[in-house]
Each structure stands twice: as C-alpha cells, then as structure tokens.
C-alpha cells in the first residue's frame, strides 16, 4: 500500500534531517560493531603515506583552510580576475575611464529600472 504524505517544506526538511541522522547512527553502529583496528597504541600506528617520503618534508600536518580557499579562488575565479584586470590595465587611462563609466552607466540604468518597477508595481 503506497501513500503520499503532503507536508510543508520546513517540516519535510526537519523530517529528512531526522532520517539522515537515523542512518548516520546505523552506519556508526555497524562500524563500531564490525571494525577491527590494526595496531593498538599511538606508537603502533603507521606514518602518513606521502609516496615513500618521510613526513618531515611536510610543513603542515593538517590541511589549512587557506589551501581549500585558495584552490577555489585560484582555479575558478582566476580567469574572471585576469579578464577584468586585462580590460582595465591596458596602459591607456582612457580605457580605464571608458570601462569605469560603462559600469557606472550600467548600475545607473539598473537603479533607474528598479525605481521605475517599484513605482509602477508598488512596494
């Protein structure tokens, strides 16, 4: 017998979080019940695997938040940044002026449009 329960989105979000938590507890319980560990004390535990190198070559043992942040920033936004910088810094001050006035004009048009929409549609 299949049935569909209609809820509001917030209740659904809470219920699905609860269901996620139930499964999380289940996975942890399976791990606790079945997992066997190699070695018992801290001294027995093995060193980090770094392609055969000793871990002394590392400056950081933990990943820094900077590394994660810069990975995104460098790889995704670098092209956008380069494009903006190249279109601004041509060596000609008039290019810079043109670019800035273009943006300013765009923002002005946007502002006027929004004001007009508000005036027509009401707040």
């Amino acid at each position: 017998m299949a049935s569909t329960i209609i809820l509001n989105p917030i209740d659904l979000m809470l219920i699905s979080s609860l269901l996620t938590a139930i499964l999380l507890v289940l996975v942890i319980a399976i791990f606790r019940a079945l997992a066997k560990k190699e070695g018992s004390s801290v001294e027995d535990s093995s060193a980090m695997y770094i392609g055969g190198e000793h871990e002394n070559i590392l400056t950081l043992k933990y990943p820094s938040t900077d590394a994660l942040y810069w990975a995104v920033l460098k790889r995704v936004f670098r092209n956008v940044y380069n494009y903006l910088v190249n279109s601004l810094h041509t060596g000609n001050v008039l290019d810079w002026l043109k670019y800035m006035s273009m943006w300013y004009g765009f923002l002005m048009i946007l502002a006027i449009l929004i004001v007009m929409i508000y005036m027509v549609m009401g707040w």
Binding site: A2, D11, L12, F31, M48
Partner: protein, 338 residues
C-alpha cells in the same frame, strides 16, 4: 493514516525498500555494471570470478573490506570522524529516496526540490569535506581542493538541469509546483503532449534534451568518472581524498561513492524520464520500462567513462562551464519565460 503505521512505513522505506539495504545492493550492482561495460569497451574481462559473470564481485569486495580487513590508524587521523562523514553522505542520499514515487511512503511538499538539493547535493558535498579533514595527507588536500573546485561548477549545473522540467511543468495548473514527486509522476506528459501547439512542443523537447545531456555531464563530474576524475587521479594523487582509507572505512567510502552513482541516475530517470511512465509501478511493463531507462542511463555514463581520457582540472572546469553550465542556465531561463 495512523501515526504508528506511518512511522512503521517510513522506517521500512528508509531501512529496507528502497532504503539502505536495497539501495546498497543496487549500488553494488551498478558498480559491477559500470566496471563490466567499461572493461568490455577496453577489451578487458572485467569482474569475472565471483558469481555468474562476476556479478557478485563488488559484494565480495565490500564484505571482505568490512569484515576481514583491518583499518590502519595514522598519527593525525580521526577514523570516527571519517565514518561520520561517510555516514552523513549515505544517510542523506538514502533519505532523499523517500521523495521519489518508488518508495512505498512518499514525502512531498510544494517546492520540495529545496529538500532534494539539501539531501542530494549539499550533504554529500559537506561529507566530502568532513572525510578529507578526518584523514589529512598532501594527496588528500590536493584531491579535495580539486573536488571543491569542480563542485563549484558541477552542482549549479545539476540544480539547473533538474529545475528545467519542474519549471516547464508549471503549465499544468493541477500539479504542485517544484515538487519531486509530482514532477516525476507527470513529466511524461511533457514528452508527448502536443496540446499547447507544435512550436511549443518542439521547444519543450529541445529544453528537455538539453536538460538530460547537461545532467549526465553533471553526474559524470559529481561522481568523478572518467573525463572528470582528476581529483582522484591515481598516477598523480594515489587516490585523492581516499588515499589513507583502509578496511571498513574504505568499504563504506566505496559504498557511498557507488550510492552517488546509483541514486543520481535514479533521480534523473524519475525527474526527467518519468520512471516507469507511461505504465504503473506495480506492473510488469512498468518495472521493465523503469529498468530499461535506468540501464540505458547507466550505459551512457559508462560509455562516456570508457570513451574519454582524463581532463586537467582547468580543462575540466572550462568544459563543464562551456558544455553543461551555460546551456543548462540558458535552458532554465527559456523555460521560465516560456
């Protein structure tokens, strides 16, 4: 419905069908299917020894890793945190199944696509970060930073391509807006309904096909299959963020990875292709149609994996932006205007 009965059905759906046990089995079967088809494309045997034509090999791998192998602790590691990360991912993906018509008890609400995004996209992504921080290693850091960079373009693509059929389907006033369940049960009408005029029908078909293609590219990138597997490029990064995993933790990590493949393909089968439509679930034709659609999508994913070489990270990001993100956003805007 009686509240005790509802709780019982919910737990049954969550834990047995289509929940944890069934979806784990399906995920391992999908892993076998992808491995076997890619192996045949590359003139290899693929899994061959355990079970008929090697079909039980992923099960054997999973249970051996879980029950026999030991995990190796490491000085800076936190194994429990890694298990929490994987468990959150598995839990969120499995709970997401209760939004689909496949489940005996279905949860639905207007705009429940937000819950879909929360369970299928947000939590697996956060769990990836938890997993990587639990077991630090230079390869792990490099792998996860690449995975995050890919996710920045992949996740919006997936969201946009799933929103396209939900946006077009607003033209039927009787359907709850942006609901996974109602879109899944009614999307077949979009594929065949010429009642709004032929130009409108052709435009709808084009939008749906764009959505299908971009969602397959997004899945390929989200589950790190071939052209987009630079975050775990084994010649360079050993195994990315799974480098230090061993024993039961690796078993759960692999299960999580297989679940992502199985559940995302299932989501596309339902949201874009309508599941068993035009038949009912509980009929032979319906079951066979659902199976055929599912296997076709899994085959396409394996075909792409077998046909491509690996992209560099910058190539991968540029290709996704060019061939998936931009078309899906343009299609989404058109479907809003239509």
């Amino acid at each position: 419905m009686d509240i005790a009965l509802a709780i019982g059905y919910t737990l049954f759906s969550l834990l047995i069908f289509p929940g944890f046990i069934t979806i784990s089995a399906i995920s391992l079967l999908v892993e076998w299917f992808v491995r076997k088809t890619v192996a045949r494309m590359q003139n290899r045997m693929g899994p061959a020894y355990v079970g008929p034509i090697g079909i039980l090999q992923p099960f054997a791998d999973f249970f051996k890793l879980l029950l026999v192998k030991r995990y190796i602790d490491q000085r800076y590691s936190n194994p429990l945190l890694a298990v929490v990360g994987v468990g959150v991912g598995i839990g969120a993906l499995t709970a997401g199944l209760l939004l689909f018509p496949l489940s005996p008890i279905r949860f639905s609400s207007p705009y429940d696509v937000i819950v879909f995004i929360y369970l299928m996209i947000l939590w697996p992504f956060i769990s990836l970060i938890i997993i990587s921080l639990a077991w630090p290693n230079p390869f792990v850091v490099a792998g996860v930073s690449r995975a995050i960079a890919l996710a920045i373009v992949t996740e919006p693509t997936l969201v946009a391509s799933i929103l396209i059929p939900m946006t077009i389907i607003r033209r039927y006033p009787d359907i709850t807006p942006y609901s996974v369940y109602y879109t899944s049960t009614n999307v077949w009408r979009l594929w065949i309904d010429t009642g709004f005029g032929i130009p409108q029908y052709i435009a709808t078909l084009i939008l749906l096909i764009v959505s299908l293609i971009t969602s397959i590219i997004a899945i390929q990138s989200k589950i790190l299959l071939k052209p987009f597997d630079i975050p775990e490029a084994e010649q360079e990064l050993i195994a990315g963020y799974a480098t230090e995993f061993s024993g039961p933790i690796y078993a759960f990590y692999r299960l999580f990875h297989d679940m992502k493949i199985a559940i995302l393909i299932l989501a596309i089968t339902y949201i874009l292709l309508g599941g068993p439509a035009p038949f009912k679930h509980l009929s032979i034709e319906g079951f066979l149609t659902l199976l055929a659609k599912y296997i076709t999508l899994a085959f396409v994913v394996s075909l792409v994996r077998g046909a491509f070489g690996r992209f560099r990270i910058d190539q991968a990001i540029t290709k996704i932006i060019k061939y998936a993100l931009t078309p899906s956003i343009i299609a989404l805007i058109i479907s809003f205007v239509m």
